[in-house]
Amino acid sequence: MTHVSETPKQRASLGRQVLPYAMLTPAVLVTLAIVFFPMLQTAWMSLHEYVLFRPNDFTWVGLDNFKAALNDEVFWISLKHTIVWMCTTIPAQLLLGLVTALLLNQDFPWRPVARALIIIPWALPSVVIALMWVWIYDSNYGIANEFLLRMGLIQQAIPWLADPDTALASIILTLTWQGFPFFAVMILAGLQSIPQSYYEAASIDGASAWRQFWHITLPGISGVMMTAVLLRMIWVANSFDVIFVMTGGGPGYATHTLPLYAFIKARTNLDFGYGSAIAVLFTLLLMVVVVFYLKRTGKAVS
């Protein structure tokens, strides 16, 4: 009898051990196939001279592509723009998202409608956003120039996207507008998880609104903010669709970022070896930033 009663138990315990692996396997296999395999392939291609229109020419060149990239003026221009792009877009999105979330957390009529509307920029496809902003910035018919001219803030229409001094900033503004709802929604969720009783206790103790924000709200949403910044950092760093549609990286190299440069080299010039080397270099740089960020903010949050 004992023999019979033990078998299902053993089976159940074996099942408990195997089940998680069995359920995870499909997801892991898919990730391996569509993420890790292309990653390895990219790393492998970066060590070869591989120009697509010479399909039979796949020559091992070792680190030559990397050396060429480090000696390439455009690589450094693109890296500089990538740093400017990330260091301004993400804080701007975070700040705007935080203010929006705080406003949306207040009680006011039509609050659900406002919450739904705020998500629109995030929900629109990048290409639509890019084309829309190209028109806004247009130097002949764009609403941005029209508005500024009528307000008397500028004397001449400014070619926002055709002037190297304003092109990158204009695209950063577009991307800030596109990405801030993500922060707003994430932070709003974090705000709603803070118990109301904390605020009540603080106000009984005489804490000002600013003190309440600094000592209750900010610690309460710091975990969410950290995750949101990490996710955005990776997304913003890798996104080039808006730039590609708005300026194609121009005028000249004024809006080239590293992912865009890798894309142009690989897809337009068909130089997959060199394009892959730039992509690998950028991945390594991004990994350093992400690890550093996680170490610093992880400590702060805990």
Binding site: F53, N140, L149, L161, G250, P251, G252, A254, T268
Partner: protein, 404 residues
């Protein structure tokens, strides 16, 4: 016979019928800007005349046409036939992506009906024929006769006259201190190399493959830079302006001259009526240069049924069909008979095209041409226009590209 057996027989018959009607399929890629795309009508006419062949025609957006074509060839998913331009031929031949058509061409009746010399002009870099011409254009100068008349100007025939005319046309028409009309709509984005080439490659001894860094070669690029930076005769958005922008600005009266071809003539007339005309581009540096805008079709070497693909492309370059095709693209037919009965464009634009033909040229038959068109020219031109580099540096980079 039971009901089951009957249904079985009926299904088998239906299946056979289905198979018989789709013996072979030709996947065809093309690019049309025109929304009134007559491709369905052409496909239907072809399928009726050639039972057993189905054509799947796909309109690919122009901006990424060649990116998509090259990657499809490499990825093993290339179409069976495609619309192609000369600048892409050396690269496609190098990739082994094209099927030679010499044998078919020799036995095709329609070959004699094509415009003289077109087959010769579209020969491959290895002497074989891969391309079958389907339409052509020649770039010329669009101008606003009403504005010229108002200011007492005549159409410029040399670069010097062009510069003075453009300066005179650039003006503030309503007195608000803003420039309302610019002399020339320059295309600084991809595809604008033809504008630059008109001002640069006309000079004696200057071409993309030689003499570009000579004094005369650099003077051409300097001329373009001066027009923008010193004279301010291009709209400020010129470094980023593409096809849509230059045509849109001309139609809206923001520019008084630009360079394009007959493909945009009907749209221009629709917007401006008699206030638009055309003339050959000015002579610069002692010589004329304008672009011969070619378009052909080709059978790809990976085609499942090359014979069927060949039938389809010859259909497009045959009398009558070629007219229908060009009515959609607004370009000119390659079939002599169709040209003779051509009434689609007002005569003044056809005349400007014909007058420009004697000095129209194509880009070099080199693998570097695709990079020149897609990245090297636009990036370096934009850098010159925005003062990032000197004209001599731009010309040196282009010369280096073609020397590789």
């Amino acid at each position: 016979m039971t009901f089951k057996t009957l249904t079985g027989i009926a299904s088998t018959l239906a299946l056979c019928a289905g198979m018989a009607s789709a013996d072979s399929t030709v996947r065809f890629w093309y690019h049309f800007d025109n929304a009134d795309n007559p491709m369905d009508a052409l496909v239907a006419a072809f399928e009726e005349a050639n039972p057993g062949i189905t054509v799947e025609a796909e309109n690919i957006p122009w901006n990424s046409y060649y990116d998509q074509l090259y990657t499809a060839v490499i990825g093993g998913n290339a179409p069976d036939a495609a619309m192609v331009k000369m600048f892409a031929q050396p690269r496609l031949v190098e990739m082994g992506a094209l099927q030679p058509i010499d044998d078919w061409l020799a036995s095709w009746d329609g070959a004699d009906g094509l415009q003289d010399n077109l087959i010769e002009l579209t020969k491959g870099p290895d002497g074989k024929q891969y391309y079958l011409p389907v339409q052509y254009v020649v770039l010329y100068l669009y101008y606003r006769p009403d504005m010229f008349e108002e200011l007492g100007l005549s159409v410029p025939t040399t670069c010097e006259e062009f510069r003075e005319t453009a300066k005179a046309l650039t003006r503030d028409t309503d007195g608000d201190g803003q420039t309302d009309v610019y002399g020339f709509g320059f295309r600084g984005a991809k595809g604008g190399h033809d504008h630059w080439a008109t001002f640069t490659l006309g000079a004696e001894g200057v071409s993309l493959t030689e003499g570009l860094t000579s004094e005369a070669g650099v003077a051409g690029t300097q001329f373009v830079a001066d027009l923008f930076q010193q004279d301010g005769v291009f709209p400020p958005s010129a470094p980023n302006d593409g096809f849509q922008e230059i045509i849109g600005a001309f139609k809206a009266g923001k520019t008084a001259m630009t360079i394009h071809h007959i493909g945009s003539a009907n749209g221009m007339v629709e917007a401006l009526g008699d206030n638009v005309s055309a003339a050959p581009v000015p002579e610069c540096g002692g010589g004329h240069w304008t672009a011969f805008g070619d378009e052909s079709t080709a059978v790809l070497s990976s085609a499942e049924d090359p014979e069927a693909a060949w039938k389809w492309i010859t259909f497009l370059s045959s009398e009558g069909n070629n007219t229908m095709f060009n009515e959609a693209t607004g370009q000119l037919p390659v079939v002599k008979a169709d040209s003779e009965s051509w009434t689609l464009h007002p005569q003044r634009f056809v005349q400007a095209t014909v007058d420009s033909l004697p000095f129209a040229e194509m880009l070099p038959n080199s693998s570097a041409t695709a990079d020149f068109v897609n990245t090297a020219w636009p990036t370096n031109m934009q850098r010159v226009l925005t003062g990032d580099i000197e004209p001599a540096e731009m010309n040196a980079k282009i010369e280096e590209l073609f020397a590789e």
